[in-house]
């Protein structure tokens, strides 16, 4: 319990640090967004208009007042108004986009972690064998192929050339969004296949290598030798003794990697024209929609912190040593 409380305290501190970064970065940079908008009118604005623009970016009052206002608006989920989809509030755009990113990243993480871990277990158990010496380097190398490139290759091959998969969108536009409708769900999965594949292909190698290396270090431990000496079945030693211990550090790094996976998803969505955070960020970068770009950072940070908290809880459940 003490362990969880300490972690919770840390996540709160990290969250506040992230908010503070988000607050300070545009204010410390030369040429903040509101100055740029004001400059684009080339002096044709009245003083009241300039003040209104500055106020809408939260730039009125001294730094401390601005900071307090900013924190208040974050907790009210008020991220300002989007300049691209004016006058849509940024928050509603963010949450719409985040749903689709969640679909992609959720599916990709699930498959990558499962496939990678099982391959890692197999490679470590038969270490030095054909599977280990052939697939371990190949899978890890795929890790370095970066989502952007794998996405381009898959898009070119399966969407443009073979035309097996759609050129964009998250679902068939003729279907009404309804998560209980099987036809809609099928269309969502069909549209998500290639983006998920491209995140999956570049990330499962990391789980393979991580699981393999942790397991190799465990295989020489006394408790494993004892389990074998007791004559337990191979699968029981493999999964219940070694893999169960090796998975603990993997869960921690799974939570830490979610930030990286989200980054990968941003690029993948831009290639596949998938209406998630990445595609919206892509458009927001093009039109300098700062409220959206800052909002996505805050949203993703919160997501990563929540994921880390969940992994701590999972670790407490799986590892009795932490329950003292």
């Amino acid at each position: 319990m003490v362990f969880l409380l300490r972690r919770l305290l840390f996540y709160f501190a990290a969250f506040f640090l992230a908010i503070t970064f988000n607050f300070l970065i545009p204010r410390l940079m030369p040429g903040n967004p509101s100055d740029r908008i004001i400059a684009s009118f080339q002096g044709r604005l009245t003083e009241a208009q300039v003040a209104a623009i500055r106020k809408s970016f939260g730039l009125d009052g001294n730094m401390w007042e601005q900071y307090v206002t900013y924190i208040g608006s974050v907790f009210r989920l008020d991220f300002g108004i989007s300049t691209v989809q004016f006058p849509e509030p940024t928050a509603s755009l963010l949450f719409y986009a985040a749903t689709w990113t969640l679909v992609l990243v959720g599916l990709a993480i699930f498959f990558a972690f499962t496939i990678g871990s099982f391959m890692g277990i197999h490679a470590a158990w038969n270490r030095g064998g054909f599977f280990d010496s052939f697939f371990t380097p190949i899978n890890v190398m795929m890790n370095a192929f970066t989502p952007a490139i794998v996405a381009l290759v898959l898009f070119y091959a399966f969407s443009l050339q073979l035309k097996w998969f759609p050129l964009g969108r998250a679902h068939d536009p003729n279907l009404m969004p309804n998560w209980l409708d099987l036809k809609f769900l099928g269309s969502v999965l069909y549209h998500a296949t290639l983006p998920v594949m491209s995140i999956l292909l570049v990330s499962f190698g990391g789980w393979h290598l991580g699981m393999r290396n942790v397991m190799i270090n465990l295989l020489n431990e006394d408790f494993v030798i004892l389990a074998k000496a007791k004559g337990l079945s191979e699968n029981r030693v493999k999964y219940r003794y070694v893999a169960r211990n090796a998975i603990l550090p993997q869960i921690t790094s799974l939570a830490l990697s979610i930030g990286y996976m989200l980054g990968g998803a941003l690029v993948t969505e831009a290639v596949f024209n998938y209406p998630g955070l990445g595609k919206f960020t892509f458009t927001a970068i093009g039109s300098r929609d700062y409220s959206f770009i800052q909002g996505q950072l805050l949203l993703l940070t919160t997501a990563v912190l929540v994921a880390n908290l969940l992994s701590d809880i999972a670790n407490v459940i799986l590892d009795p040593r932490l329950r003292k």
Partner: protein
């Protein structure tokens, strides 16, 4: 492939445990030959063990050679190609010909020339960010691990924050505000956000070294703290520093390419990332101009793959169990051939 000769005790002990006693085995040399262990070439024995194990690792050396070829090609760019990467060199969107080995872009620039010059920036920024991140990680990790107490608490807090905050989205925010970030601004931001992992591993290693006899004896001799850190602890961290450097470089090269690809870089700089950005912007895939998009892709993939290969051999230095496990397949087959149980592993 002769690492086993560093630890000749391993196969013999293992064989003995499996029941292949000295009475059964013909003699040491024949056994070694059957195990596929070649005598160690003379010059490697003069190297320090970790370097020797690096040099004799086929995977790692393949990576080093690939990397050297890439670096040499991008530095020799003016010797290899006569074109200017920023100027029109021919008709737009030309397929590869003898004059333009990899064709031309929609702006009529020579793709092969851009690839060579782009490599300078992409590799340069990647290595710069990788070295900087590893150095920050080394300095903070050793300080946290050795000095402990309040210093450790503060550094560990920041390490955890850097690990937890999502890197790419943060960089997107900074790069948007900088407006057309030059490759080196991107590199600096990547270095400033990428040191978490190496700081964490090095801190853990330092913690375990701090209580070792040689550090204790240096402390009892009254050595100054900075001297203990530099002379006693630092050399033991070199392999971890290398590992942080390689991983940091991979991450930086990939992240730089991704950022420029989504349009956050300076579009006038010639790098692999901006080549991809222009190719995507000009709808190179849709219009069938494959030569515009695949060369930078392949260059990034080859760079990533070669660094991963190097990392395999660095990993085997930092974690010797991994090196031993590479040989186990051979020992298993050897035991099975002799009708012995290979179950001990």
């Amino acid at each position: 492939m002769s690492e086993l000769t560093h630890t000749p005790a391993l196969p013999i002990n293992v064989a003995a445990r499996a029941g292949v006693g000295s009475g059964m085995a013909p003699d040491h040399a024949a056994l070694m030959a059957e195990l596929g262990v070649k005598p160690k070439p003379g010059w490697t024995s003069r190297l320090p063990p970790s370097l020797a194990s690096f040099v004799t690792n086929g995977k790692g050396m393949a990576g080093v050679i690939l990397l050297l070829i890439l670096i040499a090609a991008s530095f020799a760019a003016p010797l290899i190609s006569d074109y200017n990467p920023n100027r029109r060199a021919g008709k737009p969107s030309q397929a590869p010909t003898y004059e333009h080995v990899l064709g031309t872009t929609r702006m009529g620039k020579d793709v092969f020339t851009q690839l060579l010059y782009g490599g300078r920036v992409s590799l340069g920024v990647g290595f710069f960010a990788g070295v900087a991140a590893a150095a920050i990680g080394l300095a903070l990790g050793i300080s946290a691990g050795y000095f402990g107490g309040r210093v450790d608490d503060i550094i560990t807090f920041f390490v955890n924050v850097v690990l937890v905050l999502p890197g790419l989205p943060l960089i997107i925010v900074i790069a948007t505000l900088v407006e057309e970030a030059s490759p080196f601004v991107i590199g600096a931001v990547l270095a400033a956000t990428g040191w978490g992992w190496s700081a964490r591993t090095i801190r853990t290693q330092t913690l375990s070294l701090r209580t070792r006899e040689f550090v204790l004896s240096a402390e009892l001799l009254g050595e100054r703290k900075w001297r203990i850190v530099l002379i006693e602890i630092f050399p033991n961290m070199l392999s971890f520093f290398m590992s942080g450097l390689v991983l940091g470089t991979i991450a930086a090269i990939l992240a730089e390419a991704a950022l420029e690809f989504i349009g956050l870089g300076d579009p006038n700089a010639v790098t692999w990332g901006t080549m991809l950005f222009w190719a995507q912007n000009n709808m190179a895939l849709q219009s069938g101009a494959w030569w515009e998009i695949w060369p930078p892709c392949i260059a990034i993939m080859v760079t990533g793959a070669s660094l991963v290969l190097v990392n395999f051999s660095v990993d085997e230095i930092t974690n010797p169990q991994l090196k031993a496990s590479r040989k186990i397949g051979r020992i298993r087959r050897f035991l099975t051939r002799r009708g012995r149980s290979a179950d001990v592993f």
